[in-house]
Amino acid sequence: MSIEQNTSPTENQAVSAASVEIPSYTQKQTVGQLLRGDLGFLPVLLTLIVVAVYFTATTGGLFLSPTNLSNLLQEIITIGIDGLGVTLVLLLGEIDLSVAAVGTFGAVVMGVLINYHGFPAWEAILLGILAGAVAGAINGFFIAVLRIPSFIVTLAASIFYAGLLLNLLNGQATLIIQDPVVLGIAGSSTSFLPDYLGVGLPTLILVLYAVGLIVDQIARQRAGLRAKSLLQLIVQIGIVVVIVEGTVAVLENTPSATPGIYLGVPNAAAILFGLILIFWLVLTKTTFGRHIYAVGGNMEAARRAGINVVFIRVAVFTLCSALASVGGILAASYANSVATQINPSLLLQSIAAAVIGGTSLFGGTGSVWNIVLGALIIGSLENGLDLKSQASDVKQIVEGVVLVLAVTIDALVRRAQRRSGR
């Protein structure tokens, strides 16, 4: 083909970029369209601010105190990690109703291996995560290979693992975890990163992020491609730096029960943000991630493009359940025990966190960072209502209403987009 040869040097590229991309073809977007597109996170952010202001005002400032913010962050870990798995599944346009059950199952596998079979903690943790992954692979097999609707498969799986973990615990209602390694992750007064890591790691990642953006910017300019303006670049880096370092500053200044000692960044939070970071990189920078979006957007097109759709789907369900196990193990560590009673609201909370964050129930759109906003809203409601000493009746009513609102907005936005032909 002559096409590749006749577009070699840099100058030609600049010409061709300008000759193909006609910015004036871009339709003027109304505020509504912007809110449905690039600024889709704004309503969620506003909701979070409203919730925070309301609870701060009605609890006499207690809600925004560093101690409470640190607690809030530790309370949303499991919702966030399960929500991350759910996001992956939602990107395919599927659903996983088994995250809470599989997560508890993974934690029980870990606990039983440590308490009754004398496994070292790290091996037991890995086997617990592996048990979750196997559960997910089985779900994926039924859904992707046998083409059974994910709704039914994962609902059945949820019931199955609830029964299996009762069986594993042999009638015991609660399995107390005393292993210092497991408790050290999230369930003790020392489950915080040392200061040099708590400040150093986020800062290192920020530096890498900024360098990456700048290198990309320069490479795009060299290749004659349209690049961001310098201002956009600075603002983008600036916002991220302020958010990350601000959070770290608050956490590092959280007083502990012992006067004079500050808590710092919880290990579990580092794990949550580490996982989100990894999956963000996988989804946006790798072929595998690109293919997940493609399968969720148009499965037939993905199949015809030679993508192994069955593999992608099985892999995503496997990852989701493995993440659920991680979430379950962190929850067990935080609570110092595993209960046979599966947290009844965890499943809906993690789906709600993903959907409120803007991940579509219909597949193909959403970002893993949305999880943080979604989980913060869910967690703030729970935490704030706790501060106001509301019982679980009010909490469940409020959370139910918020979930239905989020899903309704998602559906309405979809319909409006279809009507405007986008």
Binding site: A17, T287, Y293, G296, R304
Partner: protein, 287 residues
């Protein structure tokens, strides 16, 4: 159908079809047969398309156009018959084999992922990667721009989501995808159906660009006006048989309509002359 003269104008020098380069066709099919149970969908059909040539494949519903395209694309291989690519006998039993041979098909549904941007769609399934296995976005964008430039495609941005593009632009992306796969033969199934006037023009222009690139292009269309505007040759199928081949320069819509419907050419010509020119041609447009 006000512009009843379009079919006649289209064949004239403006789009100046060069005589197809003689010699070996890029793609040649011989004695193709295909049955679905008792129904003979294709009977002893020959087909050929040369490089630098646009062939219009026309026929009424059920004439066998789609069956023939599916046989070439490997989606539903023929029962028997021979296929030659650049003179070499080949056996196309799957879409992957067709792709490897440089035969690409753009179906009506276009097979684009609306939630991905233009570059992602262009490279879907064959992404370029950097040494550390991450996506090589800059390289893909640069080469994608090159192909779009060659095809004279205009877009708001190559990072726009495909869902935001017009029908003509989407068709262009689907065609550009085949070029990036190094297609030699491009089959287009109803490329102008469901497009407005301006977008149709855009797509017809795109088809001419493909011919300029030395490709062999096959256009299936119900719209004779469009076929007359871009095709060099028209092959007519009727009831699973090839019933006619027309050089656009030396034929009229009436002759092709007659071949499509199976009417005697004289009859059509008579109705045309008695009803006036416009009527006969508009019949051709609707087909």
């Amino acid at each position: 159908m006000a512009d009843s003269t379009t079919p006649y104008v289209g064949g004239e020098p403006s789009s100046a079809p060069e005589p197809p380069s003689k010699g070996e066709p890029l793609l040649r099919l011989q004695h193709i047969n295909k049955s679905f149970g008792a129904v003979r969908a294709l009977t002893n059909v020959d087909f050929e398309v040369y490089a630098n040539e646009v062939v219009g494949l026309v026929g009424d519903n059920g004439a066998g156009k789609s069956t023939l395209i599916k046989a070439i694309a490997g989606v539903a291989p023929a029962d028997d018959g021979e296929i030659f690519v650049e003179g070499q006998p080949v056996n196309i039993t799957s879409p992957q084999i067709a792709t490897r041979l440089g035969i690409e098909t753009v179906y009506q549904d276009l097979a684009l992922c609306d939630n991905l941007d233009v570059v992602s769609n262009l490279y879907l399934g064959r992404e370029e990667r950097t040494p550390i296995l991450s996506l090589s976005e800059i390289e893909m964008e640069r080469r994608g721009l090159g192909v779009l430039h060659t095809l004279e495609v205009k877009l708001p941005s190559v990072r726009a989501k495909v869902a935001q593009l017009s029908g003509g632009q989407r068709q262009s992306i689907a065609v550009a995808k085949t070029i990036l796969r190094n297609a030699k033969v491009v089959l287009l199934d109803e490329p102008t159906a469901a497009l407005g006037v301006a977008q149709t023009r855009q797509v017809l222009n795109l088809i001419r660009r493909l011919r300029e690139q030395g490709l062999a292009v096959v256009v299936i269309s119900h719209n004779l006006a469009d076929v007359f505007e871009v095709a060099d040759r028209v092959i007519v199928l009727r009831l699973g048989k090839r019933v006619g081949t027309f050089e656009i320069k030396s034929t009229t819509a009436e002759r092709i309509v007659a071949a499509i419907t199976g009417a005697e050419f004289g009859e059509i010509l008579q109705t045309t002359t008695t009803d006036g020119n416009g009527n006969g041609t508009s019949g051709g447009n609707e087909l």
